[in-house]
């Protein structure tokens, strides 16, 4: 017995280190797995509060660019609105057709990262504003990410620029769909995989979200094709996508709540249980 106690005392540094190292490894693995209850995130009142103060100061430095962005968006929405009465068929499929199913909450980005391999944003809305995990986040120019943890007043968003992110996307012209991923590197480029080789793709083609997941409505802008090549097995294209969003300068975003999500999820889960 005494020897055991001596062993603990002699190696207390090593044991303490091992314990703490294991805890941090657990937290790391926990953060790498997609959509799990995250343990330590910046969506808490302490770090959220400090980021809010920081952002209050920083907001003044890019007022001009943000105003321009808002005017551009207003302009686009006005065009959409005024053309709506005349030619219903020419309107690209977009969220305004599906309005009853989706509600939007506007939020302010208080922290943003884009230089790591697993990037995330922190926004100043939380469960008090009816946010929940798995809601989509878009900006005036396109897709930003997916909510992955929420507290009362803050939420963290898994950015498009995260190697865990997989977003359903399709070619706007042909409706062929694939998966949008990010393979580290430039914050302006993402990759669209799983587009079959018989599809004709061209540089400059627009990529939009595909309505098949419950997260994003159909037709939200993502980016345009910058370059394409066949994947290693030569059956599918690997498209390099230039994102419309400048992910390095995100300030105002909209969180999308899909009112039908719970019902669809329930149906799909029931089906999986049967199988």
């Amino acid at each position: 017995m005494r020897q055991i106690i001596f062993f603990f005392i002699r190696n207390k540094n090593s044991l303490l280190f091992l314990l703490l190292f294991l805890i941090s490894l657990f937290l790391t693995v926990n953060s790498h797995s997609f959509h799990r209850n995250k343990v330590a995130t910046s969506a808490n009142f302490f770090s959220g509060g400090i980021y809010s103060i920081k952002q209050n100061v920083q907001d003044y430095f890019n007022l001009k660019t943000q105003n321009t962005l808002l005017v551009e968006e207003n302009n686009r929405l006005r065009e959409l609105l005024s053309n709506r009465n005349f030619s219903r068929n020419n309107i690209p499929a977009d969220s305004s057709n599906l309005l009853p199913n989706y509600s939007y909450v506007q939020a302010r980005v208080i922290n943003n990262s884009f230089s790591r391999s697993k990037n995330s944003l922190t926004i100043d809305r939380g469960t008090n504003d009816s946010l929940a995990i798995d809601m989509g986040v878009v900006s005036s120019k396109g897709v930003v990410g997916i909510v992955n943890s929420v507290s009362a007043n803050y939420a963290t968003v898994q950015s498009v620029l995260n190697t865990n992110s997989q977003i359903n996307a399709k070619l706007k012209n042909t409706n062929h769909f694939g998966t949008l991923i990010w393979e580290t590197g430039s914050p302006y480029l993402a990759t669209l995989i799983d587009i079959p080789r018989q599809v004709s793709v061209q540089k400059g083609d627009t990529i939009v979200t595909d309505g098949k997941s419950t997260i994003f409505p159909e037709g939200i802008l993502i980016g345009s094709i910058e370059d394409f090549k066949l994947a290693a097995n030569e059956d599918y294209y690997e498209l390099s996508i230039a994102l419309f969003n400048d992910m390095t300068k995100i300030a105002h975003v909209y969180v999308i709540e899909n009112k039908a999500a719970a019902e669809i999820k329930k149906l799909e889960n029931a089906l999986e249980d049967v199988e």
């Binding site: 937290l27 400090i50 980021y51 920081k54 990262s113 697993k118 914050p187």
Partner: protein, 168 residues
């Protein structure tokens, strides 16, 4: 004297944490290079102080950075590791004189000081980026990030020590 040291280290802990998460995490030199200066706390922690305490504080500091940066536990792991191996690095850099608690970082020879800081920084960064990227297909990215961020951090930490060391 003892109380004074506790106060200085507490302030250093908080200031480095806030400076790191508010300022240094957003530098993004050349698009992706950020310095991690907060490990200065572990580097200059009194050499004669309790080692268990240092490991625990390093872990908490890293965890704080992780919570602010949404990075899981990568900073906590890397910080706890360099706090654990610090005695070995001290011995390599400063030789036997470290054993007699004779060394003060602000008064050491430049070469020895640089060896010590580089060993700490590059070990920390290698663990940090390996855990963060977590994919051996991206091993070049890990090494490149370690090298560039490491050089940036070493320079900044070296300058900070120069700036804050009292001259006699």
């Amino acid at each position: 004297m003892w109380n004074n040291e506790i106060l200085i280290n507490t302030i250093r802990f908080l200031v480095l944490l806030l400076v790191q998460v508010i300022l240094l995490n957003h530098i993004n030199l050349f698009g992706y290079v950020n310095p991690y200066v907060y490990i200065l706390f572990i580097i200059v922690f009194p050499f004669s102080a309790n080692k268990s305490l240092l490991i625990l504080l390093a872990f908490l500091l890293g965890l704080g950075i992780d919570i602010f940066g949404d990075s899981g536990g990568v900073h906590a792991a890397a910080s706890a590791f360099i706090a654990y191996v610090r005695p070995a690095f001290l011995k390599i850099s400063f030789g036997v004189s470290y054993e007699y608690n004779m060394v003060k970082i602000s008064k050491s020879v430049i070469g020895e000081r640089l060896t010590y800081i580089s060993l700490m920084v590059f070990t920390h960064h290698l663990i940090l980026f390996s855990l963060e990227i977590f994919n051996f297909n991206h091993i070049l990215l890990i090494l490149r990030s370690t090298l560039f961020s490491g050089i940036f951090s070493v320079v900044l930490i070296f300058c900070t020590i120069l700036l804050f060391s009292r001259r006699n």
